[in-house]
Every structure is written in structure tokens, then in C-alpha cells.
């Protein structure tokens, strides 16, 4: 997880140059006309994503099992979106979040995936297709819930379909329910509500994300938790609601509530580990990363619920039909279990639960997915010790966590206005 900056692109480019050099040398010797080495196709996919699921281990495993070489292109969420819009030919397969789809699908730069070519499609958790848990419980759908943008009306349509169709915008890979991370050793009392994020008790020790669309939703969770206002849809506010929410944030900022706004994974880990913050919005593996330094950190379940997110795969419009075949092969491999188990062991959730389960030890499944006490020590995919036997996961089982999702990361209709207000908030 931590060594996400693996640009294997560079390596293989070097390889190419080497091979190219050898070829030139061979033909220069004049012994043979240059053989058609290039035609012996190497299966290469340029994989653009945010590093959440772009790890060395996965890349190696894919290569071993399918022969596909994955060239990771890692960027921040914003930069991934920017790249899809401005340079659609610079990647083959895209791994992005569902909330970006409102921008990406109308641009026509990505291709819908054919559900019929995805072997495990019917086993994908119904959170994506119906907005409910496998046990049938309907979960919160404020914001850009995946079910709202999961399907388009036809292969080349850019209109989202309300009902399932054969054409899928993103084949889900990973998702999670986010909440506040806290330092129990420094707070020394129970935390149970989003309202605590702006509690003056933590003046100068709180942090939110520096991504405006997500930061404002965290603020909205606080507003609702304090009983000040109830939003019809926190993920799609009116201008008045944006003004009101920003006023709450501005007041807190002026009072010195925030230590910093963080933008990437490592920043959030450092803020928490260094004790700069004691309460902040956070991602699950970041909490794990703090804990693995021996520093107590809890991904605190809160009574108002979680803010959830999800990401998935699709293709660039620039792919050839050969490349598209490889993409389907890769995606099918991804859903076949090994990768799912790998993601589950990091504290994320995988899209097809059944295949992931068969790739995990029963005690691992019980700890990560069922919220039970760990029978044995729990290890991360890289082998490092995460939890000792007897520990339970923050927030409990899959059903408890995903079942309490209140809203999803979103792009609002009034996004333009919101960004202007965010700049105003920073200048305040």
C-alpha cells in the first residue's frame, strides 16, 4: 500500500529500448534482416488509477497468471479525471471513482463494459446494482451512489440508466465506508458523533480533506449531527445549502479549528502519527498505517453513519479490439478472488465477495468481514503484523459498516459554484 509510486512504465520502457537496441545491432551486423519480433505480441495494458489498488504484488500476480503486463500510471483523483478528459489515449484501462463518472461519461472518452463478458458479474455485491446489502438491507444513497451511475442506456450512450442494462460504466473493484480517524490516547474519551469534528475542544487538532467536494460533505455530516439542518441530499446541495455549509466551515477555520487540510494518503498518516491532529476524516488503510507504527489510532464508527466511496474499471475509447480483450481478461482475473482477498486484507472491500472468501483463511474472513474476534494474529498482505489475536475490527462486520452508509462521495450539480465558494473559504 505504501510503496504506491511504482512506475513500472519506466522499467518496461527501458526494456523496450534494450530490445530495440539489440534489434538495431542485429540488423546492423547484416547477418539477418530484422525479424518480426514486434509482431509476437506482448500483452501490455497501461493502467491509470489512484494507487489504491495498484500494487506491485497485484502486478506480479497478473503477469504470472495471465501474461498481461500492467504498466501502472499513478495520479491523484483529480489528476486521473483531468487525464481522462484531456489525454484519453495515454492509458488503456482506467480505475476511477464512481463520482467522477458525471464528468467522464458525457466526455465520451471512456467505453462502457459489456456485462456479458464479465464472468462474475451476477455475483457482484448488490450494493452496486441495487443499492442494498447482500442480505437485502437498503443503504443510504445520498450523493453519487454507484447504483445511480452504474449503467448507461446503450453501448455508446452517455445517459445513465436507472435500471440495470448490459452496459456498465465501471466494473467495481474496491470500495469502503469512511469515517473519522481519532487518536484515543490523546482524546481520552469516547467519540460517537460527526459533530466532534468541529468541537472546539479539538481546536487546532482537527483536519479534513482538501478535496472540496469531499470536504464539504464531511462538513454536512457535522451540520446534520449538530441538528442544525437536515439536507435532502448532502451530495447534491442547492446554492443556499452550499453557502450555509461553507459558513459553518469558515467559522471553524477562523476559530482555528483545523491544523491542516490533507490531500494525499501519506499526509493524513503523518498528521495523525505526529500528533498534529487527533481527529480527522481519513481512509481505512491510513488508520492501519498509523497503527502499524505502534501509535493508537481508531477508525471510529459514528452514529450518523459513514461517507462511502467506490471505484471500478473501464476502458479508454482509444483501445484496440485486441486491447479490449486483454482488459476483459484482466478484469475477469481481478474479480476471480486473489485480488479481492488482497484488498480485503487491507481493510477495503472487494466487489465479488464469494471469490474473495475462497481465497482467504476462515479466521481472516471472520475478522475482516464478519466483525469477529481474530482467532490468530492478523497480517497485512505484505506480511507485517496488523492486529494481535483477540482484536476486532473498528466498526465491526461488513453488514454493520456498509449497512450504515449515509452518503457517497459526489460531484454536485452546483460544482462550479461550490469550488468558487471553496476558494472564498480558503481566503477567509
Amino acid at each position: 500500500m505504501t510503496d504506491s509510486n511504482d512506475f513500472s512504465t519506466g522499467v518496461s520502457r527501458r526494456d523496450l529500448i534494450k530490445k530495440g537496441g539489440a534489434l538495431v545491432a542485429a540488423s546492423a551486423l547484416g547477418s539477418f534482416p530484422a525479424p518480426a519480433v514486434w509482431a509476437a505480441e506482448e500483452k501490455i495494458l497501461r493502467y491509470l488509477g489512484t494507487a489504491v489498488n495498484q500494487s506491485d504484488d497485484i502486478t506480479k500476480r497478473v503477469k504470472a497468471e495471465t501474461g498481461i503486463t500492467i504498466q501502472n500510471i499513478v495520479a491523484t483523483t483529480d489528476d486521473v479525471t483531468k487525464r481522462v478528459i484531456t489525454q484519453p489515449n495515454s492509458f488503456d484501462i482506467l480505475d476511477t471513482e464512481y463520482f467522477s463518472l458525471k464528468k467522464l461519461v458525457p466526455s465520451g472518452n471512456i467505453l462502457a463494459m459489456d456485462a456479458k463478458k464479465i464472468k462474475e458479474f451476477d455475483n457482484i455485491t448488490p450494493i452496486f446494482t441495487k443499492g442494498q446489502l447482500p442480505n437485502g438491507k437498503v443503504i443510504g444513497d445520498q450523493g453519487t451512489a454507484p447504483k445511480k451511475v452504474m449503467f448507461v442506456e446503450g453501448e455508446h450512450s452517455s445517459t445513465f440508466s436507472k435500471t440495470p442494462t448490459q452496459w456498465v460504466t465501471l466494473i467495481p473493484t474496491v470500495y469502503n465506508a469512511d469515517t473519522l480517524g481519532i487518536r484515543p490516547d490523546l482524546i481520552k474519551r469516547p467519540i460517537g458523533s460527526w459533530a466532534e469534528l468541529l468541537n472546539p475542544e479539538f481546536k487546532g487538532k482537527a483536519a479534513i480533506l482538501n478535496i472540496p467536494s469531499i470536504g464539504i460533505m464531511d462538513a454536512a455530516m457535522v451540520v446534520e449531527a449538530t441538528g442544525k439542518y437536515k439536507y435532502p441530499d448532502k451530495g447534491n446541495m442547492t446554492k443556499q445549502e452550499i453557502d450555509m455549509t461553507m459558513a459553518v466551515l469558515t467559522e471553524a477555520k477562523k476559530a482555528g479549528q483545523f491544523r491542516a487540510f490533507w490531500k494525499d494518503f501519506n499526509e493524513s498518516v503523518n498528521l495523525m502519527a505526529a500528533g498534529e491532529t487527533v481527529i480527522q476524516s481519513m481512509w481505512s488503510p491510513a488508520v492501519t498505517a498509523v497503527r502499524s507504527k505502534g501509535i493508537p489510532c481508531v477508525f471510529q464508527p459514528l452514529k450518523e453513519g459513514y461517507r462511502s466511496w467506490a471505484s471500478g474499471f473501464c476502458m479508454s475509447k482509444g483501445t484496440t479490439s485486441k486491447q479490449q480483450e486483454w482488459v476483459y481478461e484482466f478484469v475477469n482475473w481481478y474479480l476471480s478472488g486473489w485480488a479481492g482477498a488482497y484488498l480485503n486484507r487491507q481493510g477495503y472491500y472487494s466487489a465479488v465477495l464469494s471469490t474473495a472468501k475462497s481465497n482467504m483463511e476462515p479466521y481472516e474472513w471472520a475478522y475482516w468481514m464478519e466483525g469477529k474476534k481474530a482467532e490468530k494474529d492478523i497480517h497485512a498482505p505484505d506480511g507485517s503484523l496488523l492486529e494481535k489475536a483477540g482484536a476486532t475490527r473498528d466498526g465491526g462486520s461488513y453488514d454493520d459498516r456498509m449497512g450504515n452508509v449515509a452518503c457517497w462521495n459526489a460531484v454536485m450539480d452546483e460544482n462550479d459554484y461550490m469550488v468558487r465558494k471553496w476558494n472564498e473559504f480558503i481566503a477567509a
Binding site: 483529480d78 489528476d79 479525471t81 483531468k82 478528459i85 458525471k102 464528468k103 467522464l104 458525457p106 466526455s107 487546532g204 482538501n210 478535496i211 472540496p212 477555520k253 483545523f258 491544523r259 491542516a260 487540510f261 490533507w262 490531500k263 503523518n270 505526529a274 500528533g275 498534529e276 460531484v411 460544482n415 462550479d416 469550488v419 468558487r420 471553496w422 476558494n423 472564498e424 480558503i426 481566503a427 477567509a428
Partner: protein, 296 residues
């Protein structure tokens, strides 16, 4: 090859200037024109649409007249940026001038001068982001500085304003950019005819008089060039403001970054044009004070 040689081969002046002119046009003039054009385009969530509208400008200047005497977002942002410009400029000028003065007038041999000058460049062997980020463990709530202050019983509880504050932003800027003052001022000082200083000395001038009447006036071009470097860098910066200010301090560059990240290219372009205008204004004023071209 001297210009006389070129003349003999019949290479006219405009042809000699052409390569640089082309590079300048391709990588500066053309992109700049594009930015200006785009700033008048329309846009939505995922694309920009060729048009000629002033939406990006009117929205950027929103409330600047109606909200008076309160400042609008744009003015507040520029005020914050300008404030840092002034602080950083003043500090880098004093530090840069002092270092250059020491190098130029107190080091006797030219070899030592050059060695020490190169020593000044060593920090540039690492990226400026790394040099900036390395302050964080020092200045943090539980950082080295606070540990020392508490250990030495200077303070009882950690000093909070050391990091993610205006102080840390200014500190990082001064650390990063003082050298941009040192280099041109040192260069100017090395060109000062030493006989002028001797004459001043012989005429009975005090050290202070020599400094203010001889050295500072003759170092003006270096000061002006260094100032342009520092002012333009600070005006356009968003990384230092972001990382050292905990993303909570407004700057013109950061406002552009926020629009870019939201894929709102036309308003980002409009803000870039406004920033360019503001920076050029400052440089024009600087040029009024020192005519760089004449002095060189």
C-alpha cells in the same frame, strides 16, 4: 566566435536571433495567447466550449464592487499573496545582500569566492519540495524545535504557530529563494570597480557611507533582478503555500489550482491572466525604480 567573424560570413543579426525567437514564440507567446483565448471560453463539468463570454472574469471578480468595504475573494486572495511577497522580498533581500556582500568584499581570493558561491548552490541538488517538507518534522507540534523549547523550559506547552501557519510559509520561502537574491546581487557587486571604493575610502567616507553611496547604488541591477525572481515565484506559487500553510492560506496560485483540479479550465485561465497582469504591474513598478536595461 566573435560577431565580426559572423559578419564576414554574412549571417545577418535577425538570423542569429531567430532560433531563440522561435523557441520563445513556441513555448511562451503561443501558449500565452491560448491561455487568453481559453479564458473567454464557456465550460461545463467535463468540457470547454469555444465562445466569447466574460463569465470567467465576472465570476472571478464577483462582489469586488458590490461588497465594499468588505473585500471580495479575489482581492483577499491577492492581498494575502502580496503580503507574503513583501515579507519574503524584504527578508531575502537583507539575507541575500548580506551574503553577497560578504562573498564579494570580505573574501580575498577569487577561488575561495567561487567555492563559497558554489556551496550556496548545494541545497539546489535536492528538489525544493523535499527541502520544504523537511521543515515539517522540525516545526511540528512534537517536532525538534518544540522538544528543545520544552526541554529547555522556555515554554510549557508546544508552540503551535511554528507549522501550518503564515510563519512556516514565509520561512520556507525565505529558505528556498534567498539564493535567487544572492546570485544577481553578487554578480553586480563583482562588477563594481574597486577603484571607486578606494576613492571613497581616500575621500574619508565611513563604512556606512561607502555602503549607501557606492555599493548599494551600483548593486541596484542585481537587487532588481533578484527581486523580480523572488516576486514572480512567490506570486505564482501554490505548493509552498499548500504544504507549509496546511492548505489553509490563500494565494493566487492556489486559487488557480483549485479551478484546474475541478476541470474548470476557463476560469483557471482567467485567473492566470489576472495573475499575469498583477505580476507585470509589480515588475513595471520595479523597472521604474531601476532601469535594468540601462544599468546592465
Amino acid at each position: 566566435m566573435s560577431s565580426r567573424n559572423l559578419d564576414r560570413f554574412g549571417v545577418p543579426g535577425w538570423l542569429q536571433a531567430l532560433p531563440f525567437g522561435l523557441v520563445f514564440a513556441a513555448f511562451f507567446i503561443v501558449p500565452l495567447i491560448l491561455v487568453v483565448i481559453v479564458s473567454f471560453w464557456d465550460y461545463n463539468d467535463y468540457q470547454m466550449m469555444p465562445a466569447f463570454i466574460t463569465r470567467s472574469y465576472t465570476e472571478s471578480f464577483e462582489g469586488c464592487l458590490t461588497r465594499l468595504p468588505d473585500l471580495c475573494t479575489l482581492f483577499k486572495t491577492y492581498l494575502s499573496t502580496a503580503k507574503f511577497c513583501l515579507i519574503v522580498w524584504a527578508l531575502t533581500l537583507v539575507i541575500g545582500f548580506t551574503v553577497a556582500y560578504f562573498l564579494a568584499f570580505h573574501i580575498r581570493t577569487q577561488t575561495t569566492q567561487m567555492v563559497l558561491f558554489l556551496v550556496c548552490t548545494i541545497p539546489f541538488w535536492t528538489s525544493n519540495v523535499i527541502r520544504m517538507v523537511s521543515w515539517i518534522p522540525l516545526l511540528g507540534r512534537n517536532g525538534l524545535v518544540n522538544q528543545m523549547l520544552i526541554g529547555g523550559h522556555v515554554v510549557e506547552r508546544p508552540v503551535e504557530w511554528l507549522l501550518y501557519s503564515q510563519f512556516s510559509v514565509a520561512l520556507a520561502f525565505v529558505h528556498l529563494f534567498s539564493f535567487f537574491m544572492v546570485a544577481p546581487i553578487f554578480n553586480s557587486m563583482m562588477r563594481i570597480d574597486r577603484r571607486l571604493i578606494e576613492a571613497a575610502y581616500d575621500g574619508g567616507a565611513s563604512g556606512w557611507q561607502m555602503l549607501t553611496n557606492v555599493i548599494i547604488p551600483l548593486s541596484k541591477p542585481g537587487i532588481a533582478i533578484g527581486s523580480i525572481f523572488v516576486v514572480t515565484i512567490v506570486m505564482g506559487d501554490f505548493i509552498t503555500f499548500g504544504v507549509m500553510g496546511g492548505q489553509q492560506i490563500a494565494s493566487a496560485g492556489k486559487a488557480i489550482e483549485a479551478r484546474l483540479n475541478a476541470l474548470q479550465f476557463p476560469p483557471a485561465a482567467a485567473n492566470a491572466v489576472i495573475l499575469l497582469g498583477a505580476t507585470m504591474l509589480i515588475i513595471t513598478v520595479l523597472n521604474r525604480i531601476v532601469d535594468i536595461r540601462k544599468e546592465l
